[in-house]
């Protein structure tokens, strides 16, 4: 499988270009994810922070475009490699950083950590460390919306490797059968830990599996903001209007090893180099400039503001207290006295 090529102009695809506002909104999210990743790696390298970190580098565009198609009250369920999905959906940096630093001021009081970040205020309902498990739960959120008769949509994020586990199948079938308002977004970064797509997945395209669940399935260039936004908007609209779920296979590439510290020796250097050369972040940025959608000053201001927020978030995290030992047995049940 070759690396997805970003063509933000989507020339010849007949895809309508979203408004400039939307494009800039997407870029703001992309930049946030990109800069947060930089900062995370820097802080990890400094040794001031220690956590399992699954970098989303290379996959920034997917959730940014998806979230631009979502409402604030829509839900997402995501995975260990999900900080990009959450930032795009509105997770505040302070809450995030304090959590990954294990502080009591963290959004999960330091108990969840990076793999279990949760922020219901912005619809970030579940983050799971178990491959495949975001999907069955996403169905439940969508089922609730269906029963409530509201028009909220739920997005389930997962990886290419996750499309081979049982939970994927059960969830897809139920969603197709019950016509649930879910969008299944598979971020196909072509690796499951150390194993390539070709050694994991019998299907030529994961999107092909949708047919077996009576739902549309589409492979798109996840690194193209325009293609990704287009596919997401149609899927979200379909879900919102009661027509049921969609499977989107968003092609992308994982720029780092699986987890921070993993040397990625198993990745073909040529393939990786090609992907990195097509880095969607600078390409999107230059395209915005070349199309006159934003000026250098505007983009620099966006980035600067993010950096300021990051400084503040890291400072907040590092100066916050760790939880007291009493917290260890709190939040097991609603009733604290039950042990």
């Amino acid at each position: 499988m070759s690396v997805a090529i970003v063509d933000e102009t989507s020339a010849g695809t007949g895809i309508a270009r979203p408004s400039d506002d939307i494009l800039i909104d997407i870029y703001r999210k992309v930049a946030l994810i990109r800069l947060n990743d930089d900062r995370s790696v820097a802080v990890l390298k400094s040794g001031r922070l220690s956590m399992p970190y699954y970098s989303p580098r290379g996959q920034e565009v997917i959730p940014s475009a998806v979230s631009a198609a979502l409402r604030e009250d829509d839900y997402i369920c995501t995975i260990y490699r999900g900080i990009h999905d959450m930032l795009a959906k509105g997770m505040p940096l302070r809450d995030l950083w304090a959590e990954i630093a294990g502080r009591i001021t963290g959004i999960c009081k330091g108990k969840g950590g990076p793999m279990h970040l949760t922020y219901p205020d912005k619809g970030i309902m579940v983050t799971t460390g178990i491959v495949g498990s975001s999907m069955p739960i996403a169905n439940g959120l969508a089922w609730a919306s269906q029963m409530d008769g509201n028009d909220k949509v739920t997005v389930a994020y997962f990886g290419d490797g996750a499309s081979n586990i049982g939970a994927f199948h059960e969830a897809m079938n139920l969603a197709g059968l019950w016509k649930l308002p879910v969008v299944f977004v598979c971020q196909n970064n072509q690796f499951s830990e150390h194993t390539t797509y070709a050694k994991s997945t019998a299907a030529e395209r994961i999107a092909d599996r949708a047919a077996g669940y009576n739902m549309p399935g589409e492979r798109v260039d996840g690194n193209s903001p325009i293609e990704m936004y287009d596919a997401a908007s149609r899927a979200v609209e379909r879900a919102r209007s009661g027509q049921g779920p969609t499977l989107i296979e968003a092609m992308t590439f994982r720029f780092s090893g699986h987890v921070y510290g993993d040397d990625d020796a198993y990745m073909d250097p040529a393939v990786k180099a090609e992907a990195v050369a097509a880095d969607p972040v600078p390409r999107f940025r230059s395209w915005l400039l070349s199309e006159g959608i934003a000026t250098e000053t505007e983009l620099a201001a966006i980035e600067e503001a993010i950096k300021v927020d990051l400084d503040e978030a890291v400072r907040f995290a590092e100066t916050s207290a760790f939880p007291e030992i009493e917290e260890l047995q709190r939040d097991v049940f609603a009733d604290e006295d039950v042990k």
């Binding site: 579940v126 498990s133 969508a142 059960e170 049940f333």
Partner: protein
């Protein structure tokens, strides 16, 4: 048991579900066959619910236990109170991830931001020749998991009251029904009544020893106590009702009084839930015990099909009575 108030456990479960659904529109039922308007699942526990409340609120699912529990979890995160059926307890093995890694942990891992008020109903128990993959008691797996409550009634009234409490509860509950005792006539619960979670019940008072049990074996303990009485041994019976969190206070109070204890369940004895109860008693009542605490549980084997083997496998009064006589002989 007067005529009018006689029901069985199965009917009580059905009644509890119906009453909860009538009381609260957020209570929904899902699982394999549960919406079948004719039967209501293979034993009929959900009979009539889809007819009365609609197929949306009592919804049959594909055979997909991860999808079932996952859907229950998701809906519970945003205000629903789903009761999910995992038909037989052995099938929890295909839903463990959703139950243990997710339902039980989301409150904690989110720092209390979310909660999972679901009930997972399941049935099990040897006695009907269902063999090695359809009869296991594996409550021990869940009792050993933080964040999920485990309940196992032995009477119709407890089945009703505990089910209502499980549905009310803000956290996930596993509700275990025993198949062979489903159809025994029993006294009905007061409609709307609750049995608090985590409270055991002294179902028979006695002075010589305490038998601690739950589910079918709690009934066997009563039968054993009758028989022991004939032999001049006065047995107190404690029905745990909730396995986790268990009612240490009631158990310890009883054994403090009697000085002798038997812990009995149908699950394997080997690394079984009885170990928690027995070792707590031994630890906390070290100097008060007149005899070692006896644990009874199934032998270390899968549940056999053949009738005589299955009968030998099942812990019952046949095992409790001789164990109690040995204990009573300690002075």
């Amino acid at each position: 048991m007067s005529g009018e108030n006689v029901v069985n456990i199965l009917q009580s479960v059905n009644q509890a579900l119906a009453d909860a659904m009538a009381d609260d529109a957020k209570v929904v039922v899902l699982g394999e066959d549960v919406g079948d308007p004719e039967g209501g699942g293979v034993v009929g526990a959900t009979q009539g619910l889809s007819t009365r409340f609609g197929e949306t609120r009592c919804r049959s699912t594909p055979i997909a236990e991860q999808a079932i529990v996952g859907a229950a979890i998701g809906a519970s995160l945003v205000g629903y109170r789903p009761v999910a059926e995992i038909m037989l307890m052995n099938f929890t093995a295909v839903a463990m991830d959703m139950m243990v890694n997710h339902a039980a942990k989301l409150r904690y891992m989110s720092g209390g931001q979310t909660s999972v008020p679901i009930v997972i109903r399941t049935m099990t128990g040897a006695g009907f020749s269902n063999g090695g993959q359809h009869s296991d008691y594996v409550e021990g797996w869940f009792a050993h998991t933080a964040g999920i409550k485990v309940v196992a009634p032995s009477t119709a009234a407890d089945a009703y009251g505990l089910m209502r409490s499980c549905i009310d509860d803000p956290d996930p509950c596993l509700f275990i029904e025993n198949i062979p005792t489903y159809w025994l006539p029993d006294t009905a619960a007061v409609p709307g009544s609750r049995v608090p979670l985590g409270q055991a019940k002294v179902t028979r008072e006695g002075t010589d020893l305490t038998i601690i049990a739950y589910s079918r074996v709690a009934r066997e303990a009563l039968a054993a106590a009758d028989e022991l009485a004939k032999a001049g041994i006065s047995a107190e019976v404690v029905d745990l009702r909730t396995i986790s969190p268990w009612d240490k206070k009631t158990v310890l109070a009883s054994v403090s009084k009697t000085g002798r204890a038997i812990v009995a369940h149908e699950a394997l004895r080997h690394f079984g839930p009885g170990g928690e109860i027995a070792s707590t008693i031994s630890e906390e009542l070290f100097s008060k015990l007149k005899a070692p605490v006896t644990r009874l549980g199934a032998p270390t084997a899968p549940v056999p099909f053949s009738k005589p083997l299955e009968e030998a496998f099942m812990v019952g009064s046949k095992d409790i009575v001789p164990a109690a006589k040995v204990l009573a002989a300690y002075k």
